[in-house]
Each structure stands twice: as structure tokens, then as C-alpha cells.
């Protein structure tokens, strides 16, 4: 089959590799109809994860048709109304791999599953404890072959695979695999109360869903922050007021816009490669390049300083290691709360599908490019550099180029 393989920093290639096989009883094989490139993939593309190996198959936002089931895939689950899976079912695949029976899965904390990372020792050494295994996301989280390919093997299929209603298109349900739940959980983590203003850094795919989710969850105002005009435009179309970091001093502007209070909650939907300015931006770039700091936390700093007293800092943006100069004094003295994590996708599959069915949101608004899999290297480039107004790319791996 064809698969998008990581071959080093800023180098991905479409290669012919063997088809995946069932390896464990609870596995399934899915023939992929649609697969997307995520902002998280850019952190790998840019070489910020030292546990990537050449030849690793990328991709964690994918869906398709079940073509094979392992002997242990039997029972249904609540998300699928108790219906067991069958060959031919059309499904989306959560990017987090979860067993469904550990302490964490039982408590609805799916991205913290204890039993899906065969390289847990690596994560334990780096992070203290291991999060769940993830598709196509480095050896630290299991080294699972990803879904930017024609087929993928899905472990714990009986827990993860979610059957989607036939009346919804791939484009409407594909983002249930990651970014729609991620934006939604980011907004939930803001603990939105009636009358609240939420400030969201980053108008990429995650930010776009966060904006719309914040309104679904009752926010009065959303202020969205970025520097890419077409992304700010899309944020505006989602109902947000917008700030361009190249045009205004963000902290100052947020205070002015909220009667001096600051936003009730703030969200970092940018993560470890935030664009920085001036001396501070230079400091982080140098430290990150020299590997003295793994992540550039400009946005996190700004968000903590901007948040109103007693407010909440929600961090869906990905960090992998260490950051410098977090304003802990502001965080402590203003009595803030921080909530974060890889998204507990399984938790959101049904409720968000219902919102799509009711017409409360149509996730396909986000897609700017649909390309054949052979054009994946080009797709990574335009997504990374925001060329050709690229905001979200969907690849169609089993359609003729």
C-alpha cells in the first residue's frame, strides 16, 4: 500500500510499504477513505520529537471502512449503541488508542489509558507516567503506524472504532478523530459561565473548532488571536472578534476589550512552536535550537498574563518537554487554574456526532484542500507555511490521483 513516511526533519515521502496485518485479537484493519494532516504532525515534521525514526508512517486523523476484524473483536460498546462491529462498517478512528478497561478508561480519561503504549517505559522516563498510545505519533507514544496511508491496523477496535451515520459525509465526520473534540474539550476546560469572554490564541484547525465550541457551550464573546489573515477571517466567520498579533499589543488590547478585567478564560491552541517577537522570541528560538528548551511557550506566557483573576487557562496546544520563564508569579497570585491534556476523544464521539446531525455545526467548513496521497509532501509544505490559503488538508488515499 501507499503510506506517508517520515524521513527526517521537513522530509516526508510517499512510499510503497507492506499492507498492515492483524497482530492482536482485538485489532481491526481499516481501508482509509479520508485522512487529514494535523498541526500536531507539524511538530514531527519540524523535527521537535526526538523519538521519530525514519520510515515511521504518519497520520492520526483518519476514517474508512472495516475490511478485517480480529477474533477478539466481539462486544459492542455504548458509543455504538451496543452494536458489535462488522466488516463493511464505515467508521472514524480516535487518534488516542484506549483499552476500555483500565483505571483511566473507566473514568472517561481515554487519552491516559494505561495499556496501549508498548513503549511506556520511554514515556515514563521522560514524563513520569505514560499517556495512551497514539497513531503515527513517535515512539514515545507507542510507535504505531499512522493513518496517512491506504490501510491501517487499529488496536482495541472494539473500544475505539465509531460507526458514523450514513447520511453524513466523510468531510462532516472526519474531524471527530481529533480536532473537533480537541477544540471542544479545550472549550469545556475553560469552564464557561453565562456572560463569559474566552480568548483563544491560534486560529488553526484546533482554534477554529474551539471558537465554535465555546459558543456552543454558552460563551458570550470569543476573542481569537493569530497572525494569518485568512485564518483570522475564518475565525470572524465563526463569530469571534479577532486580534492580529502583528498589529496590536495583545495583552493591552484584551484588557481594553474586557473593561479592564481580562478574559474570563484563555486558551493556548498554538502549542510548542508559537511565533515569538523581539528579544523574548529570539531567546526561545536560540534555546530551542540549542536544545536547552524543547518548547517555545510565548503564547502560554501571554495567556497567563492576560487572564482575569481567578480565571482558567486551557491548554490544548501540544508541549513535549520543558519550557522556560513561565510567569508562575502571575499564575499563583491571580489564583488561576490550568487544564490540559491530549483529548479524551472517545468521550466526545457521540455527543458531537449528535450536534452535527442536528445541524448545530458542520465541520467541513474547515477544509481548504483535498488532495491525492501522492501530493502529501506538497500538502505538508503548504500547511506548514500557510501557502495558498491552506488551513486544512484532507488526503484521499484510495482515490486515483
Amino acid at each position: 500500500m501507499k503510506a506517508v513516511c517520515w524521513q527526517g526533519t521537513k522530509k516526508v515521502e510517499v512510499e510503497n510499504v507492506p499492507d498492515p496485518k492483524i497482530l492482536n485479537p482485538r485489532d481491526a484493519i481499516v481501508k482509509i477513505t479520508s485522512t487529514a494532516i494535523c498541526g500536531s504532525d507539524l511538530h514531527l515534521y519540524d523535527g521537535f520529537n526526538p523519538t521519530m525514526k525514519p520510515g515511521d508512517i504518519l497520520g492520526h486523523e483518519f476514517m474508512g471502512e472495516i475490511v478485517e476484524l480480529g477474533s477478539g473483536v466481539k462486544s459492542g460498546n455504548a458509543r455504538n449503541n451496543g452494536q458489535p462491529l462488522a466488516v463493511g462498517d464505515r467508521v472514524v478512528v480516535p487518534f488516542t488508542i484506549s483499552c476500555g478497561s483500565c483505571f483511566f478508561c473507566n473514568r472517561n480519561l481515554w487519552s491516559l489509558c494505561d495499556n496501549s503504549n508498548p513503549n511506556a517505559w520511554m514515556a515514563e522516563a521522560a514524563l513520569g507516567h505514560s499517556p495512551s498510545g497514539l497513531f503515527g505519533y513517535s515512539h514515545l507514544t507507542g510507535g504505531y503506524a499512522g493513518g496517512q496511508a491506504q490501510y491501517a491496523r487499529v488496536p482495541f477496535a472494539d473500544v475505539g472504532l465509531f460507526k458514523v451515520p450514513s447520511e453524513l459525509t466523510d468531510e462532516q465526520v472526519l474531524f471527530l478523530t481529533d480536532i473537533f473534540p480537541t477544540g471542544y474539550m479545550g472549550a469545556e476546560n475553560c469552564d464557561i459561565q453565562p456572560g463569559d469572554t474566552v480568548a483563544i490564541w491560534g486560529c488553526g484547525p484546533v482554534g477554529q473548532f474551539a471558537i465554535r465550541s465555546a459558543f456552543l457551550l454558552g460563551a458570550e464573546r470569543v476573542i481569537a488571536i493569530d497572525l494569518v489573515p485568512e485564518r483570522l477571517q475564518m475565525a470572524k466567520e465563526g463569530g469571534a472578534e479577532v486580534l492580529n498579533i502583528e498589529e496590536v499589543e495583545v495583552g493591552e488590547a484584551l484588557k481594553e476589550m474586557t473593561g479592564g478585567m481580562g478574559p474570563d478564560s484563555v486558551m493556548d491552541a498554538v502549542g510548542m512552536e508559537a511565533h515569538g517577537f523581539g528579544l523574548e522570541g529570539f531567546y526561545d528560538k536560540v534555546k530551542q535550537a540549542a536544545r536547552l528548551e524543547t518548547d517555545r511557550p510565548n503564547v502560554l506566557r501571554q495567556a497567563i498574563l492576560a487572564c482575569r483573576k481567578g480565571g482558567t487557562v486551557s491548554v490544548p496546544g501540544v508541549y513535549t518537554g520543558f519550557v522556560d520563564k513561565i510567569p508562575m508569579g502571575a499564575f499563583m497570585n491571580k489564583g488561576l487554574t490550568m487544564k490540559t491534556g491530549q483529548t479524551h476523544i472517545h468521550r466526545y464521539l457521540r455527543p458531537l456526532t449528535e450536534r452535527i446531525q442536528k445541524g448545530e455545526i458542520d465541520p467541513s467548513f474547515l477544509i481548504t484542500h483535498k488532495l491525492p496521497i501522492d501530493q502529501a509532501p506538497h500538502a505538508y509544505e503548504i500547511f506548514k507555511h500557510k501557502q495558498d490559503n491552506c488551513i486544512k488538508v484532507v488526503l484521499k488515499p484510495n482515490e486515483a490521483a
Binding site: A3, V17, N24, N106, D114
Partner: protein, 160 residues
């Protein structure tokens, strides 16, 4: 004489103590999740024969005897006298309150002899015996909680 190696590791498993005890008590199950254990043959209620992989495709073998056994709570075993590798181990199962599963604690101790076999054992245990016992225990947990052990061995990849 090489230094004795003693390792302890604790993990919480989301299953009743009785179920964990029963599975472990049949030592023939251990190779399912212990990476270097090739085979265990149980002779009778007390004695068994253990085979681990050794260097150069060889094996290291010994007879073991159960020295303490409290149903659903504790099992201890040790190699018989004059075994090539003098070793012992125990496992304790402690039920947690509030639906938090069972705390499982494994203790193993090796007294590697000097010379080739001792070196082989040291090699087998690698640089971090604690890590190996920890990994084995994690695989035990996976098997008990999910019925399988997470793996990526045999999956496709691109050129290296």
C-alpha cells in the same frame, strides 16, 4: 562473587486479587508476559522447572520450589539448592478499596555466580533489572486487564 541483585516493583491492576493470583499461581503462564522466560514446566503443587533464554541462543535452566503460598494474597518461590543461578521471587496481591483494583508487588533476587553463567544472567537482566521487571509487570497488567499485550511488532514501515 558477583553482587546479589534485588529488585522490587509495584503496580496497580484493575482486577480482583483472586483472578490475578490464580493466573500467576500457574507458573506455566509466566512466559506469556515475561520477556526472557522461555518456558516453565510445573511438576507438582510445589516444584517447577524454569528455562530462560541465554546468550548465543543458549538457555539457562533451574528447578524452583514454592516456599510460601497464601491463597489470593501471596506466593514465594526460590530455586532449589545448587541451581546454576541462585534466585528467588515473590508476589503480593493487596486489594484496594473504592474500586481501585489490586496492588501487586513483585520482588526478585538473584545471586549470580561468578563466571560465564553469572555474566549471562547479568546480560539478560540488562543495565536495569528494575526496568525489566517493571516491563514484565506492565505486560502482566495489560494481559489481565485487556486480554492481550500491546505491540507494534510486525506492522508496516517505510525504508529506514
Amino acid at each position: 562473587m558477583n553482587q546479589p541483585i534485588k529488585v522490587e516493583k509495584t503496580l496497580t491492576i484493575n482486577k480482583p486479587a483472586a483472578e490475578l493470583y490464580r493466573f500467576w499461581h500457574n507458573f506455566e503462564n509466566l512466559p506469556h508476559f515475561m520477556k526472557h522466560l522461555k518456558q516453565v514446566k510445573v511438576y507438582d503443587a510445589k516444584t517447577s522447572h524454569w528455562t530462560t533464554s541465554g546468550p548465543l541462543d543458549g538457555t539457562v535452566e533451574w528447578d524452583a520450589v514454592i516456599t510460601d503460598d497464601r491463597e489470593n494474597e501471596f506466593i514465594a518461590w526460590k530455586s532449589v539448592e545448587n541451581a546454576d543461578v541462585d534466585n528467588s521471587g515473590s508476589i503480593q496481591f493487596r486489594p484496594m478499596s473504592h474500586d481501585r483494583g489490586t496492588e501487586v508487588k513483585v520482588v526478585t533476587e538473584y545471586n549470580p555466580p561468578a563466571g560465564a553463567v553469572g555474566d549471562a544472567i547479568a546480560k539478560l537482566l540488562g543495565e536495569s533489572p528494575k526496568q525489566q521487571i517493571g516491563d514484565d509487570l506492565s505486560r502482566f497488567k495489560m494481559l489481565m486487564e485487556t486480554g492481550e499485550i500491546a505491540t507494534t511488532e510486525g506492522q508496516p514501515k517505510g525504508r529506514k
